[in-house]
């Protein structure tokens, strides 16, 4: 295989980003797409090949803020993981709010809405044991009844009062509510977990608390009261955004910058300024390059040339395509099979757990569908052995 066709094959995996158009946008890694002579390798599904081709690297790993690359995976799969992280990973959030008393100026329904959006954290084992809650409209069948295995009780009982000598300070002109009243501002940390006996029996150290204690829930003045009993359940983001375990779960494809003709001297500086800092660096044209005919470096030995150093930092702004001096000298694109994920958790689960859970959920979906397919057409007949073997190989990779 010549270098030229090698390059052509490599370009198949790159989405072209041009001045006005995008090219080669969809994956064509399927059987029958290319003629046999045109095929790099058999694009059929082989587990072993996928296993060898898949590469995962981490860029950042904080508990609630993780960034990693999935390389060698199709957009449809990467997108499935992203969608599941946002909408289908079960998460605990306040769902039922019983307002016994609320004389603050915040309306009951607004208060309930605010409480629902407070991200909760807790004992991981306890959270895992908690069963998802399926809500249905009253009178309809199939919903869950609340009990200790699927509900968490939280209490908010606060009253705003004058501080000692507060009135005196007010007469002297003090206007800061924090100097005058107690409980003038109600924060998320004032929500108190009320475990049931069964819950503490099973998880003696169980706790549920807001991720961020400083979330402002309401403001009050002397004489006003809030008395609330609220129940948190596990739901999914598809139902309500408060049940989403992530603040953001996104991916972008790795930018590809290819300098096809030399960019030298002052142009190199201007070129570097078209990108984020660090994307383009400069280096001197070597003697070897200058002596190579047709390279475009002839007679430029020792001059500065633009070099692509870190395309990861690029945003593919296409700024460089706007300048006539770079015309025909640069090609921009994105790698079709390189997904840079960024998962920011709201604090209930760590980011890596959220991703792993999304993979588990996708697998679970497929597994469940096999059962439903069997219900439809009966289990596979003469092929039974093969399928068992396939399942066997799936088990191997569990290790």
């Amino acid at each position: 295989m010549s270098a030229r066709t090698d390059e052509a094959f490599a370009r198949r995996k790159i989405i072209g980003v041009n001045e006005e158009t995008v090219t080669n946008v969809s994956s064509k890694d399927f059987p029958h797409h290319y003629t046999t002579s045109d095929q790099v390798e058999d694009p059929s599904w082989f587990l072993r090949k996928f296993q060898e081709g898949l590469e995962i690297t981490f860029h950042e790993h904080k508990p609630f803020d993780t960034s990693f690359s999935l390389i060698g995976i199709d957009a449809s799969i990467a997108n499935a993981f992203r969608r599941i992280m946002i909408a289908e990973v079960p998460t605990l959030a306040l769902e039922q709010v019983y307002i016994k008393n609320n004389t603050s100026i915040i309306h009951d329904e607004i208060l309930a809405q605010r409480l629902g959006l407070v991200p909760l954290a807790g004992d991981p084992a306890f959270l895992e044991d908690l069963k998802p809650f399926k809500y249905v409209e009253p009178g309809q069948e199939g919903g869950s009844a609340p009990y200790w295995g699927n509900s968490i009780a939280l209490e908010l009982k606060v009253e705003c009062m004058w501080q000692e000598k507060g009135k005196e300070r007010a007469r002297q002109g003090e206007t800061d509510p924090k100097q005058l009243y107690n409980n003038s501002s109600i924060y998320a940390h004032q929500l108190e977990f009320v475990p049931s006996k069964e819950q503490t029996d099973r998880f003696p150290a169980c706790f549920i608390k807001p991720v961020n204690p400083e979330i402002l829930i309401a403001k009050m003045r002397p004489g006003q009261k809030i008395d609330i009993l609220a129940f948190a359940v596990k739901g999914i983001g598809e139902d309500h955004a408060k049940f989403s375990p992530v603040a953001t779960a996104t991916y972008r494809m790795l930018p590809v910058i290819e300098i096809t003709r030399p960019i030298l001297g002052a142009d190199a500086d201007k070129f570097a300024r078209c990108f984020n800092r660090g994307v383009i660096t400069k280096s001197r044209v070597t003697e070897e390059e200058a002596s190579r005919e047709g390279s475009g470096y002839e007679g430029h030995e020792g001059e500065m040339k633009a070099v692509v150093s870190d395309p990861f930092k690029d945003t593919v702004s296409r700024e460089c395509l706007r300048h006539p001096e770079f015309k025909g000298k640069v090609r921009l694109g994105r790698a079709m099979d390189h997904f840079i994920f960024k998962v920011e958790s709201t604090g209930q689960f760590t980011s890596d757990e959220v991703f792993l859970e999304s993979v588990r959920i996708l697998k679970q979906k497929a597994k469940k569908m096999v059962v439903h397919l069997d219900n439809l057409v009966g289990p596979p007949k003469e092929k039974t052995g093969d399928v068992a073997q396939e399942q066997g190989s799936a088990m191997d990779t569990d290790g």
Partner: protein, 143 residues
């Protein structure tokens, strides 16, 4: 008003109210709810052994596109495509057509293989991800 709201009879109910035996019953019922007894795959009219449209209930682009990709990878498949016929109905349609002159071209087997392959894929991703994470933590520490 306030005194009226003070004692709502059902407010204290759900967590503390149930006895252990009832709770266990409830737990079993919960498990039953999670195992959907509703049939989630149907075959649409006009299907043959080499071309069929499936209707998946309560599924969307997440499974639709992933399944489309992995089934298209099967060389006996001539066409595989999915659609969401209407945005306000929780349904996903998947069309599979196989080459009539090839072996092992039964659409049901092709769909089953697709679902199996997707599970294998998930196992590999999980394994690679955990390895990569542990390696990163070892080298850089988790901060």
């Amino acid at each position: 008003m306030a005194s009226e709201n003070q004692d709502m009879p059902d407010a204290g109910g759900p967590v503390q109210g149930l006895t252990d035996a009832r709770a266990r019953q409830e737990e079993e019922r919960q498990d039953a709810i999670l195992v959907d007894d509703e049939q989630k795959i149907h075959v649409l009219p006009g299907s043959t052994d080499t071309s069929a449209s499936f209707e998946f209930l309560h599924e969307d682009h997440t499974l639709g596109n992933a399944l489309r990709y992995i089934i298209t990878k099967n060389p006996v498949v001539e066409l595989c495509a999915y659609s969401i016929p209407h945005p306000s109905e929780p349904k996903m349609h998947l069309r599979i057509q196989t080459f009539a002159d090839m072996e092992d071209n039964n659409v049901y087997d092709v769909l089953r293989k697709g679902l199996m392959d997707l599970q294998d894929l998930c196992d590999v991703v999980t394994e690679n991800f955990t390895t990569a994470r542990d390696k990163f933590v070892q080298e850089n520490g988790s901060t």
